[in-house]
Subunit: 158 residues, 2 copies
DNA sequence: CCTAAGAAGTTGAATGGCGAACTAACTTGG
DNA sequence: CCAAGTTAGTTCGCCATTCAACTTCTTAGG
């Protein structure tokens, strides 16, 4: 009697799609990172800036920021320390919970954002968006949404 | 007179697709990594194992392996050292070029591969492949291929 | 109230990752 | 045949990430 089910290996088409997906991700990350480098920012930095600049009063609680960016508390703490040293953000106490802290976008951080965003957007267009037809892009989003959904459900702690 | 062109910001649809793509990548990487963890492997380790096991004589020159996995020579060197410590691969001198080295899959590495591959494939299916219709998968591959092409062309040294 | 459990963040040590400089070996043009 | 330039790979030093305490504060149960 069989105790284990036979492995369903990937078909050629599946294998091919999967490897393409992996490769695109890798190269795209690499390229975007590289395009930010002249400004002295990493993708992580940029993501923090985006999150803060889109928030009310350009501030977020550390915990919220951590879960928004899928980082551990510890990692975020170090990250914010680095960005604080670069004067992009500052920490500010929370009135309603004295354990809590806000990460707040500074004026310099805001200015950095304004300066960098156009370049970053151009980079995203050049290396990704503009290489797909609007239609393909919509299909891609539609196909990937359920995957995102599924994965969000899966994960324990980051 | 205008010296700078107006930024072409992303449309809502583009923004949405882009963020989905980013999110899927992040969560997917996280999840696959997590599913490999019980075996003491990272995705990087696994990728090396795959490359070696698919090669003639289960061996590859360090440089070839580096470019196959899109890593810098330095990074690969460290990576192989770690895997050597785990007895998954060993280094072997190259007869025809005394500067050169082969990374060679060990028996233990091969066995590890046999043990882990089914779980990894299952993980890829569960979190990605099986969540897309075969048709959507094909479309995705077709859409992403040119992006991969473009990015491969772009990059200087990894 | 007051204590115990839990949450918010930080810290520090250990590990991992990466670019730049380096060593050793091969190749080539004079 | 040898000096200059290339190529293969490693090492060094710095920064990022992780994990496990630790501190401070809040909250809920008795």
């Amino acid at each position: 009697m069989e105790t284990e089910t036979a492995t369903r290996w990937l078909t050629d088409a599946e294998q091919c799609a999967w490897r393409t997906h992996l490769e695109v991700n890798r190269l795209l990350t690499y390229q975007l990172e590289k395009d930010l480098q002249p400004f002295g920012l990493t993708m992580n930095d940029y993501e923090i800036l985006v999150n803060l600049s889109e928030s009310e009063d350009v501030r977020m609680r550390m915990s919220d920021l951590a879960s928004a960016t899928l980082q551990s508390k510890s990692r975020l703490s170090h990250q914010i320390t680095r960005m604080e040293n670069a004067h992009l953000v500052r920490r500010e106490n929370c009135d309603t919970d004295r354990r809590g802290l806000y990460a707040v976008l500074t004026d310099h951080g805001m200015e950095m954002m304004r300066k960098v965003a156009p370049h970053h957007v151009a980079s995203v267009r050049r290396h990704f968006i503009d290489l797909l037809s609007p239609d393909a892009l919509m299909e891609l989003d539609k196909a990937l949404k359920p995957v995102a959904e599924h994965l969000r459900g899966q994960r324990g702690r980051p």
